[in-house]
Symmetry: C2
Subunit: 435 residues, 2 copies
């Protein structure tokens, strides 16, 4: 569980001030990604499970309270309040795996002001990051295509341990086929995959001995053929494939991690086919992302599998999402912030998905289309059990591959953005709400 | 503690193969950052504490072993081996906070091959990330200057919980003054800082009431003055400063988070000075990094404090370091990998810091200068207790501000890189070592 103190200090200093002044009437905060978001034509929402689990379990331990006391910023009454803290609010949210767009509320917290304030930092941390990665993973999938097998190889470059776990889950949620992260396999039931490193090949007297040993010790071997010379390595792999056939087994594939991948994979594919090994798959890796996979395919590269690491796990071309958490309603009524470029949308809201584009409306309005936000938590208790991640993945993957062509393009930033409209009522309220 | 299964599956499949074949003689692996590294003229090494703590405490639980068994990849003997697994090797490393360069070994693991292999993923994960952030933080400090106060405001955009903790620690290690992350304050003894959000100001009938309330409830108030109109907000802050003076207290500062910061801060500074409040400091925030701080100062901006978030915590212009972990010696003697552009340096090594540039040599060589690598762990036990983080910070900060001018420049990628030489012996070995 995340620590209660994994929060910005100002959440607690503000909460303390609200506490002392009895400013604890219900407040409504929206979490959304501030537009525009560069390099992304759509986002895949993720992080709701982390958010709900956090809200249900948030407690301040005695050790944490002692530390807070030591800061000299808070009085005993407030520390007692924290000692008994439970999140008692309501949450509306988009389901994980839904396609969403900047400017749309993704998660709405309605709770006594102090509670709603204290949870801000963690909610932003987890939704920003998980949505960032699920959205990046979707782009990698679109570049690789529906027939390809795409797996997460990122743990060594992810930003710490929790990042490695969330990258594996978010990528799988979007539709990846597996991860190299064993703990993520255990925790989330994601298929785990792995081949061998160059150091394995170097640990044997020669490449052929290494391949034979690995094929003997692994039921579904993929051999890394580029430690010394890729085409010579391929011949060793072919020899091992034939030895496996003699035992009624099959070589699953060969992996190439360096060199001119479009050219090498074509030569490797041709040689494998010529050798009667058309079932042996080609797996590539090495700083891959959606752009490199697109270029690889455009240059005639042939691969069945892609291992995607650094650039997925850090969302390399866009390493952060500008998700924010803003007060939109309180006892005074709907509220807005009017700073230029940072204008907020007042009131409790709903998002309607319609063929002509999304409509952000006030929650009580009814429009044609499909409402995206649903109540996910009431009085501090989640309303539904955690979803089946594998089923969620299938649905998300289908949704991504069913996106219209203009949203599936990987670059072309000049193309029209998906339209997000405001309802007339919301526009009127935005003009008149108190700032 | 990090989980034992937070590792790439291939570490375990390779380890299994070594286990079955009795390939468990000592092997030596170097961890280093592959050159060139874009946008960085130097790196600040961090992550050693995480690495040593991991190596000392790595254990496989029964639950983890049961999961591994369920994969159908490993036999009972290997699972029994893992049940009793303890890292028993030796580690040489650069001290945390040392200035280092791409291509230099930062950490060397010498252990039975299986142990050295299994720890690869976690060591890379933590050293890559912590060094990435400490190096980014150093650049932010250089841009802000020695007199400025610079703090970490990144938790809401960091890549998960562990990232938020490691960003706070790595930035503080480099010389930051504090963090907004309360848990990092508790765990590492880092000073915690925080002001207020716009939603706090909006939670009161008017800005002046909000400022008065906050100043009453907080011993060292910094007031956020840009919720409505920055210059009008400043007048409210001045009024509160005068009210505090009447009570023998002082307003610590004002924060500005939006607008034309160079112009606004000049006007705010002039107005504060005119009002006799030259002790009230100006604190700025809002997507800051080394480039923006440099441009802000070049445009005449005046600030005492900088809150740096997203772009520090994600190392936005360079979201990953290409740290790798390579076999350099085993029972066969020194080893190299000869792939083009990925050539490794064979053998056990030492790095000598000299005025004319660093020298990478074999460990037994003696050269003038200061050796950077020291033995940090022997037979699986660390040789020194964890360092005093505050003392380490002071030393690192001094080292960064004492760097020669050509390394302190933030961009100018065309300027000469710091030279890293190889000793004659190492060069000869590289020619002759077995690949």
């Amino acid at each position: 569980m995340p620590k209660a103190l994994l929060t910005d200090l100002y959440e607690l200093t503000m909460a303390y001030s609200y506490f002392k002044r009895g400013l604890n009437t219900p407040a409504v905060f929206d979490l959304y990604v501030r537009p525009p978001v560069p390099y992304r034509r759509f986002l895949v929402f993720a992080g709701l499970e982390s958010a709900l689990s956090y809200l249900e379990n948030l407690r301040f331990s005695e050790e944490e309270l002692a530390y807070l006391e030591s800061l000299g910023l808070f009085d005993r009454h407030f520390l007692d309040y924290l000692r008994n803290f439970r999140f008692s609010g309501e949450v509306w949210a988009v389901p994980e795996g839904e396609i969403v767009y900047p400017g749309e509320p993704l998660l709405t917290v309605e709770a006594p002001r102090i509670e709603a304030q204290i949870v801000e930092t963690y909610l932003l941390n987890t939704v920003n990051f998980e949505t960032l990665i699920a959205s990046k993973a979707a782009r990698v999938l679109l570049a690789a295509g529906e027939e390809a097998s795409v797996v997460d190889f990122s743990p060594r470059r992810d930003h710490g341990e929790d990042a490695a776990m969330k990258v594996a889950r978010s990528a799988y949620l979007a539709g990846f086929d597996g991860t190299s992260n064993v703990e993520a396999g255990k925790k989330y039931g994601i298929p785990v995959v792995g081949t061998m490193a160059h150091s394995y090949v170097m640990s044997f007297p020669d490449e052929l001995s290494a391949f034979r040993a690995f094929a003997e010790d692994h039921p579904r071997p993929i051999l890394l053929i580029d430690t010394y010379d890729t085409m010579a390595g391929l011949e060793h792999a072919i020899q091992v494939a034939r030895e496996l056939e003699a035992k009624g087994r099959r070589l699953l594939g060969v992996r190439i991690d360096s060199g001119d991948l479009p050219e090498l994979t074509q030569r490797v594919r041709a040689r494998l086919d010529e050798a009667g090994l058309s079932y042996v798959q080609i797996f590539i890796s090495g700083d891959l992302d959606e752009y490199k996979i697109r270029d690889f395919k455009a240059a005639g590269g042939v691969a069945w599998g892609y291992g995607v690491g650094t650039r997925l796990g850090t969302s390399y071309d866009l390493p952060a999402l500008g998700g924010v958490y803003k007060l939109v309603q309180d006892a005074e009524g709907p509220r807005i912030k009017k700073s230029p470029g940072k204008r907020t949308l007042p009131g409790r809201k709903q998002v309607w998905r319609r063929p002509e584009g999304d409509l952000v409306a006030l929650r009580h309005e009814v429009h044609p289309g499909r409402p995206l936000l649903a109540r996910a938590m009431e009085r501090g208790h989640r309303l539904l059990p955690p979803p089946d991640l594998a089923a969620l993945r299938r649905a998300t993957r289908e949704r991504i591959f069913a996106l219209p062509e203009e949203q599936r393009v990987i670059d072309r930033p000049e193309a029209p953005r998906y339209p997000v409209f405001l309802s007339t009522e919301l526009e009127k309220l935005q003009e008149h709400a108190a700032s």
